[in-house]
């Protein structure tokens, strides 16, 4: 194919990605100005089946890395982070729409926190006591 130099350069993967990001409005930009209302039931399906978030965050979103319950991010911050994650262990998902992420966020908000205080868990309390004793030993 006989392409102008500029077009060929644009098709190089790294350059092409940059141009697309610059030219095509992201789902977040498409939804700018309106804060979607999430559907928790739909969010549960998206979390577990569509996006397979459980693989890193645990089936209940609270045993993995990073823990998502309690969900302390505000909705807007959550959407921005997931679409643009700079972390190597968390893929950025620019194609996830604000509505999709609002649904997941709403689902995360419904998950009850299962974290009794350490003092109410004899197993952990005992480990912490013994760890502190071991660390204090000379």
């Amino acid at each position: 194919m006989n392409l102008p130099k500029l077009a060929r350069a644009a098709l190089a993967p790294s350059v092409a990605l940059g141009l697309l990001v610059a030219v095509v409005p992201s789902p977040a930009q498409q939804n700018a100005g309106s804060t979607p209302v999430g559907n928790a039931e739909r969010g549960r399906q998206l979390f577990s089946d569509t996006y397979n978030c459980y693989a890193c965050h645990g089936f209940d979103a609270q045993t993995g890395e990073r823990r998502l319950v309690p969900m302390n991010y505000p909705l807007e911050g959550f959407i921005t982070f997931v679409q643009n994650s700079p972390l190597p262990q968390m893929p950025a998902m620019p194609d996830a729409s604000a509505q999709t992420l609002a649904d997941i966020w709403a689902y995360l908000k419904t998950i009850p926190v299962d974290a009794p205080p350490v003092n109410d868990l004899p197993l952990l309390r005992d480990v912490l006591t013994r760890r502190n004793q071991a660390a204090a030993a000379k």
Binding site: Y51, G58, G64, P91, D95, A134
Partner: protein, 640 residues
């Protein structure tokens, strides 16, 4: 150790009487075969045909002498007997064997000439399991084990296990039989022009003695080279005809004394310079890799850390346990600790350390045996780094002189400044500890079971035992070190080294075999992915040889690390994440690991999804292990 199974030990019976009796007993026997496995595990008696034992007179009457084999000759002194004498001189306790015609001479000599003692045969169901068992055994026992393999096919099966031993710098003594002059359509594929080349990229040496009088010297050389740091597996190729030939009359076959070379220590001037930097450092940090070859290495690192009051960062994948995990100095010193001198001990990749010290104009020291010898193909030796002081030597052997030099060069007020450093580091580590315990409580009652809950339940039940974790930590994050006090050098046997799955279960059997001699309680936490390689067959070896070991299958029903990787790629390409489980999950149907283990004669329970059911199941399984047998629990777990 049991030499024969119960069924093997059943006395011989008159064949004709047995056949008559067998018909009557067939119904009972058949019902036993198809019976409920849980009933079988509860100790229901096995139905046996009613057969009278033959008398001596019956036996004589029925005995028909075999026809003499045409051309067969009687060999009074087979060469393989001498080979076994050499193996005895190398002090092997065990040899892993999956039988093969290429080493039938050696096999027969081990059991008859050698009396199946030192080495004793450990029957394995796959050569990869045999190599992994030898790998795990060597780390726990502190001495190599032998694995005996069939020509080409056996060696290729074993290759993955040998590769892990190479990457983990662990000596495994491999012997492969080869039909040098194959005579049939069956054994031609088992012969090779250069057998060692099949695995040479990850063996420290391989050699093929072509004459019996050089066998002993080559075997001794393979053994000593394998044990000289950087350690690794070695291979002897032994022609089957050479094994089976008669020792010529009058041939003298002396067995040389085993002389293990002294381990190389660091050059005096370089050690003195390293000591100078460390003695005057304000914020030293020690990073051990595969340091503690022996218990002495553990003690020396503890001595060095306490002398300097330096934090010790074993890293995420510290392959061997080198430092007590509940010690005040265990860790990186906390987020505000900016090291000005980092000491790497057998750490073959110093890049992160170099980056860290460059940011603070600090110095980096490395003492590592890998400067002395590296492989030529596998890229497992880390990147070249322009660190400030590199010492080509074994770190464990160098530590005594380094410690002595640091004492000699320490300023007068060192004790006071170092005590202050320890207090700061201990305070930072205490905050980290509390945060870790806080993290552990999330999902405490979740079903499937959370990883911290699984390990904490285990910890409570073994805290009064002399326990040893014989599997790797790779798939349970840092939870084992956080929740189990690794306070002895043998508490943790390390990861595979090569980061391939399939190591943990068989290597755990090897580790447990070594710990059995010391009466230690061996426990393995293995991934379901790992178990599915050669793990089930390795469990049979544990059952057959009465090796006590608790295997907990951390069953998250997927290769979850790979789910995340495919997610990342799919997201980069904007193709959605709804299909990333394809090729990554192990369900529909979900394997029943308890039933698989029961089928191999091992006590097992599961699948266990309810966290409250875990403690009683652990109690029952541990009772079996403490009584001397293997057991398995299939625990359905959270992905992370």
């Amino acid at each position: 150790m049991a030499k024969r199974s119960e069924s093997d030990a059943t006395p011989s019976v008159d064949r004709r009487k047995f056949l008559t009796g067998a018909a009557a007993g067939a119904a009972g026997a058949a019902s036993a075969l198809v019976g409920n496995t849980s009933e079988a595990q509860q100790g229901a008696p096995i139905a046996r045909p009613a057969v009278a034992r033959p008398t001596e007179a019956d036996a004589r009457k029925d005995f028909v002498p075999p026809e003499p084999r045409v051309g067969a000759s009687f060999i009074e002194h087979p060469a393989s007997d001498h080979m076994v004498d050499v193996l005895k001189a190398l002090d092997f306790d065990f040899v892993a064997v999956n039988p093969g015609s290429a080493f039938e001479g050696l096999h027969e000599s081990i059991i008859n000439h050698g009396g199946n003692r030192k080495p004793e045969i450990l029957t394995v169901l796959h050569e990869e399991a045999g190599a992994a068992i030898a790998h795990g055994y060597a780390k726990a026992a502190g001495k190599p084990m032998m694995t005996l393999m069939h020509g080409t096919v056996g060696l290729l099966h074993a290759s993955m296990g040998l590769f892990h031993a190479w990457c983990d710098r662990v000596p495994v003594f491999g012997v492969v039989g080869t039909p040098r002059n194959p005579t049939s359509v069956i054994n031609r594929p088992h012969s090779a022009q250069d057998m060692g080349s099949l695995v040479r990229d990850f063996m420290k040496m391989d050699d093929e003695p072509t004459r019996l009088d050089v066998f002993a010297g080559i075997a001794m050389r393979a053994y000593t080279i394998g044990r000289t740091p950087p350690m690794g597996p070695t291979l002897l190729v032994v022609d089957s005809e050479l094994q089976e030939a008669a020792i010529p009359n009058g041939m003298s076959l002396p067995i040389p004394k085993l002389t293990q070379p002294a381990i190389p220590q660091g050059e005096t001037g370089a050690v003195r310079e390293a000591a100078k930097w460390l003695a005057s450092a304000e914020r030293p940090l020690i990073r051990p890799g595969k340091l503690a070859r022996t218990p002495a290495g553990w003690d020396l690192l503890l001595e060095l850390a306490e002398l300097l009051q330096s934090p010790v960062d074993v890293g995420t994948y510290g392959s061997w346990q080198d430092f007590p995990s509940w010690h005040a100095l265990y860790g990186s010193g906390g987020p505000d600790y900016k090291p000005d001198v980092i000491l790497g001990l057998e750490l073959n990749d110093m890049v992160p350390s170099l980056r860290q010290t460059r940011a603070t104009s600090g110095k980096t020291i490395s003492i590592c045996a890998e400067y002395l010898s590296q492989g030529h193909n596998i890229h497992d030796y880390g990147n070249y780094t322009d660190i400030d002081l590199a010492i080509a030597a074994d770190a464990e052997a160098t530590l005594p002189s380094l410690i002595e030099e640091i004492r000699r060069q320490s300023p007068r007020d060192a004790a006071r400044t170092r005590a202050a450093r320890r207090a700061k580091v201990a305070e930072a580590h205490k905050a980290i500890r509390e945060r870790e315990m806080d993290d552990a409580r999330y999902g405490w009652n979740s079903s499937p079971v959370s990883v911290p809950r699984m390990i904490a339940e285990l910890g409570r039940q073994i805290q009064n035992d002399d326990w040893a974790i014989v599997s790797g930590h790779q798939f349970t994050g840092q939870w084992q070190r956080r929740l189990l006090n690794h306070d002895k050098h043998y508490r943790y046997n390390g990861d595979s080294g090569g980061f391939g799955i399939g190591y943990d279960t068989p290597a755990s059997v090897g580790g447990a075999l070594a710990h059995k001699a010391h009466g230690r309680l061996a426990v393995a936490i293995v991934g379901d992915g790992d178990f599915n390689f050669v793990g089930a067959g390795a469990l049979w070896t544990a059952a057959h040889h009465k090796i006590p070991l608790l295997v907990i299958v951390h069953n998250n029903r997927a290769y979850h690390a790979e789910v995340m990787l495919v997610q990342r790629t799919a997201a980069r390409r904007g193709r959605g994440n709804d299909k990333v489980d394809i090729g990554n999950v192990i369900r529909d149907p979900a394997p029943d690991y308890a039933k698989i283990a029961q089928g191999y004669g091992v006590y097992a329970e599961g699948p266990i999804s309810d966290p409250n059911a875990l403690a009683p199941a652990l109690e029952r399984a541990l009772a079996r292990v403490r009584a001397g047998e293997p057991a398995l629990l299939d625990v359905v777990s959270q992905p992370r």
